[in-house]
Amino acid sequence: MARSAAEGNLKPQLTHNGLKREDTDRNGYHNKREGLQGATAKANNMATKNGPGTSVPSRQHIPESFEQAPMYVAVMTYLGFGIVTLFGYFRDFLRAVGLEKCHLAQEREEQKAFVPLYQDFENFYTRNLYMRVRDNWNRPICSLPGPVFDLMERVSDDYNWTFRFTGRTLHNVINMGSYNYLGFAENNADFLKTVADKVHQYGAGVCSTRQEIGNLSIHEELEQLVANFLGVEASMTYGMGFATNSMNIPALVGKGCLILSDELNHTSLILGARLSGATIRVFKHNNMHSLEKMLKEAVCSGQPRTHRPWKKILIMVEGIYSMEGSVVRLPDIIALKKKYKAYLYLDEAHSIGAVGSSGRGVTELFNVNPADVDVMMGTFTKSFGAAGGYIAGKKELVDYLRNHSHSAVYASAMSPPVTEQIIRAMKCIMGKDGSTEGMRRIRQLAENTRYFRARLKEMGFIIYGNDDSPVVPVLLYMPGKVVAFAREMLERKIGVVVVGFPATPITEARARFCVSAAHTRDMLNQVLHHMNEVGDALCLKFSRRKYSSRPDLCDETDFELDS
């Protein structure tokens, strides 16, 4: 591959065949060092020497692990799915013959000759697999989703087709599933005083869109605050996080543009990309080699038939991927985007407020200049305990979006108490309310994350993702074990979220834990103790690596043993 003068020091690392994870990790380590100095260099293409870089970070490269389970686990997973599928066909046969009543929607008699509505795989899966076990999802909660919550007890008499409430409440169930990273989902009257005041002042609803008459002064205040928090020129906020992605990407790119999107991007990003009409190409998850190959090919060949150059190339990545817990390789991507003149769209839904030494997200984690990311997007649902999303960047970008984004023009504006909740949470994190509560929570979250992950790995579970990310997926693999795990943990008064087939690959069902700053060490110990017991009772400890109980003393390379 030709070496360009500009990124000369980065090329050797990128030409390595980075197919094995540990090799890319080691390359990524070198890349991060140089990428950081390159990213902060003032000159653009012509500089061969690194400019006066900002401080090289003192942190070491954090390893990401995606251990594979032994082969028999995959075999047993397929076996389990196969047997339940066979029984699914058997039950469908009984329903078709009439020996069993069908509880789900069916076509009417007159429509039997039409194109069938309910025979595709998705409906088959819902009828025969999901319905059997759906008592583990949509559990109704009757308190605020803080570190502990109350559940309404519900039972089913006909194998989960219908539910009824017994009237009992399960109190103080430990909440390991809410995206409550900094603990701002609280109902302490002192903290919420400003929110109550704003309800007095503005009411609860806005009754208009931002463009018409719904642009309140509190919205302007919030946008100014968000821009200050992120270190960018301007920002715009929207009432719904999903709609921020899906309605703004069509305003930024259109036909004739190219979107390079990570394999594991969230549905809102995929929906926005499809709605825009641009060409979408998918690169392998966090794999810079794959991304660079696609960028090269895009720049060289241009659009598919006409070979005209692409109008825009947009790279879409997320800060923390919520199903894997992995963190994006931001310095590498910024180096690539500068080299190939592409734009970067960074979705920090899970990482804003949750990573970084002062909660500013992955740009702070990697010590990268926020001006290098063209479009910074995030949501307020996770770390700020509110609802909504934002897009931040240069002032021209935000002004353009104010007029051309569907969400800005047609969607109702953010409600005032929610806006005030975000303002107070952000001020708390930044320290502007005069207390150190924000920094305490960020430190508590980092400590809880490290402790929880280290203990789980020590016990022998397979955990995915970066050691810094508060999203901890524990792999369960087999469908029977997924269901049994959720039920067992609820019996022990711990609420977990388990995720299965359509959201994850079929062989990798998992339980996803979200660590929060509001969890005390006691709660975490209780959860870990029960996880240990349930892990033994259900045989869930598949990991074949040996972890010592004091990882700080060991050399990093010990962690890179792969099976």
Binding site: L79, V84, R132, M478, G480
Partner: protein, 88 residues
Amino acid sequence: MICEPACRMNFKNLREYLAWLYYQYLLITGIYVLEPWEKSIFNSILFSAIAMVIYTSYVFVPIHVRLALEFFSGIFGGQPESTMALMN
């Protein structure tokens, strides 16, 4: 694979251990999610299949093994015998 967690758990008696093994069988095959009558159907089919395998092996495997041994000993040790038998 199954011995390690079993050692960590404290089983009071054999009954509990067998119940735990049955639970593992339910989880691994995925039967755990089915209704009880479906579990019984699957268990009876599996049990009858295993019973047939055992019966067949009990009846036929000794005969097959004996025939195989005769065949191989015929190849290696029986050359002079067979030509003598033909001449006679």
